[in-house]
Amino acid sequence: MAIEVLMPALSPTMTEGTLARWLKKEGDTISSGDVLAEIETDKATMEVEAVDEGILGKVLVAEGAQGVAVNTPIAILVAEGEDVPDAVAPAQSDVAKNISHSETTAETSSAKDVRPSPLVTGVSSEPEKEWGETSEITVREALNQAMAAELRRDPDVFLIGEEVAQYQGAYKISQGLLAEFGENRVIDMPITEHGFTGMAVGAALTGLKPIVEFMTMNFSMQAIDHIINSAAKTLYMSGGQMGCPIVFRGPNGAAARVGAQHSQCYGSWYAHVPGLKVIAPWSAADAKGLLRAAIRDPNPVIFLENEILYGRKFECPTDEDFILPIGKAKIERSGTDVTIVSFSIMVGTALQAAEQLAEQGIQAEVINLRTLRPLDTATIVESVKKTSRLVTVEEGWPYAGIGAEVAMQVIEHAFDWLDAPPVRIAGEDVPMPFAANLEKLALPQPQHIVDAVKALV
């Protein structure tokens, strides 16, 4: 039953090391768990523990030996009364064979053949469902109605956040919900974003469906570790066992005159992350239909609202079952000369620019992305194939922004249709200033879009 003790590796990259010292000598009785020797590399020290028991029959590599290759037999354990076998083959042990085997598998297994195109949804040709009658409501009312409807529909849904219950919401989005659903389902939180976000994610892992309201998305940075590391990745890391049905929502982007720490767009931050869905509605219908879909979705969804839009009125379907699909953009205005892609409040800016362009005889097609991840690449690509020109508009910073991603998708999928390089219009690459004039200069205006389009056409 002679058992070889092999030179261990301290890390997957270690190929050889020094056998610093033996702590047992030949003839010693060994129980599993006993430390036999110490090995060293330039970075670390490690103890070699016995996994089997027996008698240390022979030390094969002397103390102080340097450059001992990983998996070299360094000693032999024998049973009581057993002789040490004479020919100790330093050849490949079974384990070593096994390792090289698994290395070859890794080399030959190419993932290329199975790679999906997760960013292309390809559903854009389906016409949007007709919902009939509409009435005018504010974005605030739309969000409120969406939460109320889903809280009514599913007892596993609950709302937590700062000032969501008794105060009726810092921006009054949760008005009336405490009265209807009670304090077990509409729950005020102390100012403790990291803690309550982690708590909500933990609850979601058990199957509950929390809506987490951040007073503004700026404060979600306190909790970004739980959003990305705990919510977005657990399904994958658990091999599909632990889904996380949760919505993180709140006002995003520039408010008015609140300075740098309270004005930024998290669209590109969160859209970067696999395992998340990211929605940025523009109209009341977007807000209502997509928030309902977000709450029903079994995945973590980031829902980026806009404070300036809360009070704006839009026509919204009155149908009780009204809901919109995640991942589908909307063409807000058709045109033939240029495609303007935008989301959230900038859809309004793009539409104003399109108005002005129309007066000058240029027909712009305006796409409201509605979902930033998964991106509706098909709708964008189809439009660019028609117009041959692309302008992207967002409030966030230009560097690695949503515009950069949209342009790249167009380059990948419609390069031959482009008659001009894509142009991106974004917030200036500076923290948001406070002074009214500077703030205006920092954000995209309709004129910027008009000028960009005229230079392209």
């Binding site: 261990p8 890390s11 590391n229 705990s230 599909g240 995945n299």
Partner: protein
């Protein structure tokens, strides 16, 4: 400070609170963890396990003692030092070892690894690599118990190092405020990587860290299975009765390096040897069993059974296939 320091607040066992059968079971569970971890260390040394691998050797009495106080439906969450918790929770040695080696048959189909394993079936919620994150997630598990109106409790394990994270205190507050049935278990093994608790925390009585929020706490000799079990029973009863969270500071010790590659310069070999020789949690149970008349042969037969399970798990892991390349793209999102 040393493992299981005899200090006014440290509770050791006052006579056996466990039956002989329970001690035997505890012995088997602890030996399983020890042998499993030794085997994992060996496979790591052979290059079959890669990346980070944090062994639980020395701390076995903590999870085994706590597990004995739990019932079906109680939820568990811990850090990256999670192999012992998983085995104690009843997850199979095969599934855990296969995950450690990145095989398709592992608990996460090879997509989680040593630090990220889960079992919905056994109510084991991971395996978390971000120090302290499991504490906030853990109160969420307790929140769910309360929301659903069950009397189930949740255990959130974390280290003495993790006890310095801000979210731990946010969690104490939230759990106390909402009376969440969460047992915070600090496994105080005296070090967070190479930093001793003296050099990391101005509070050396971690069991008192919940005091501002009225979270009751106890320091327990975490090398003594009966003491752990007795304290866990008390904490569990408190939580099940709807009285809110409870904090247990388990004085324990890890024999091995922080993870597999450890400079081992921050503590003396004599310190490790002394704990191994005088306070080993498995030897402690063994002695109790021998004193109570159990013979050596019965213990040896338990050890042999355990060894067979561990060897089988290593064999299973090594002969299991790696995940199919198509698995790369699955489990990112659930179908809506």
């Amino acid at each position: 400070m040393e493992a299981g320091t005899n200090n006014a607040q440290t509770t050791g066992s006052n006579g056996p609170s466990l039956t002989r059968e329970q001690f035997l079971q505890a012995y088997q569970d602890m030996v399983l963890i020890r042998r499993f971890e030794e085997k994992a260390g060996q496979l790591y040394g052979m290059g079959l396990i890669g990346g980070f691998c944090h062994l639980y050797i020395g701390q076995e009495a903590v999870v085994v003692g706590i597990q004995m106080a739990l019932k079906d439906g109680d939820k568990i969450i811990t850090s990256y030092r999670d192999h012992g918790q998983m085995l104690a929770a009843g997850m199979t040695a095969r599934g855990v070892m296969a995950e450690l080696t990145g095989r398709a048959t592992g608990y996460s189909h090879g997509k989680g690894g040593s630090m990220h394993m889960f079992s919905r079936e056994k109510n084991f919620y991971g395996g978390h690599g971000i120090v302290g994150a499991q504490v906030a997630l853990g109160i969420g598990l307790a929140f769910a118990n309360k929301y659903r109106g069950t009397d189930e409790v949740s255990i959130a394990y974390f280290g003495d190092g993790a006890a310095n994270q801000g979210q731990v205190y946010e969690s104490f507050n939230l759990a106390a405020l909402h009376k969440l049935p969460c047992i915070f278990v600090i496994e105080n093994n005296l070090y967070g990587m190479g930093t001793s608790i003296e050099r990391a925390s101005a509070s050396h009585e971690l069991w008192r860290n919940g005091e501002p929020w009225g979270v009751p706490g106890r320091r327990v000799d975490g090398m003594d299975i009966a003491a752990v079990h007795e304290a866990a029973e008390e904490a569990v009863a408190h939580c099940r009765a709807g009285k809110g969270p409870y904090l247990l500071e388990m004085m324990t010790y890890r024999y091995r390096g922080h993870s597999m590659s450890d400079p081992a310069k921050y503590r003396k070999r004599e310190e490790v040897d002394a704990v191994r020789k005088t306070r080993d949690p498995i030897e402690h149970v063994k002695q109790i069993l021998l004193d109570s008349g159990v013979d050596e042969a019965s213990l040896r037969s338990i050890e042999n059974d355990v060894k067979a399970v561990v060897n089988d798990s290593a064999e299973f892991a090594q002969t299991s296939p790696e995940p199919d390349p198509a698995e790369l793209y699955t489990d990112v999102l659930l179908e809506a």
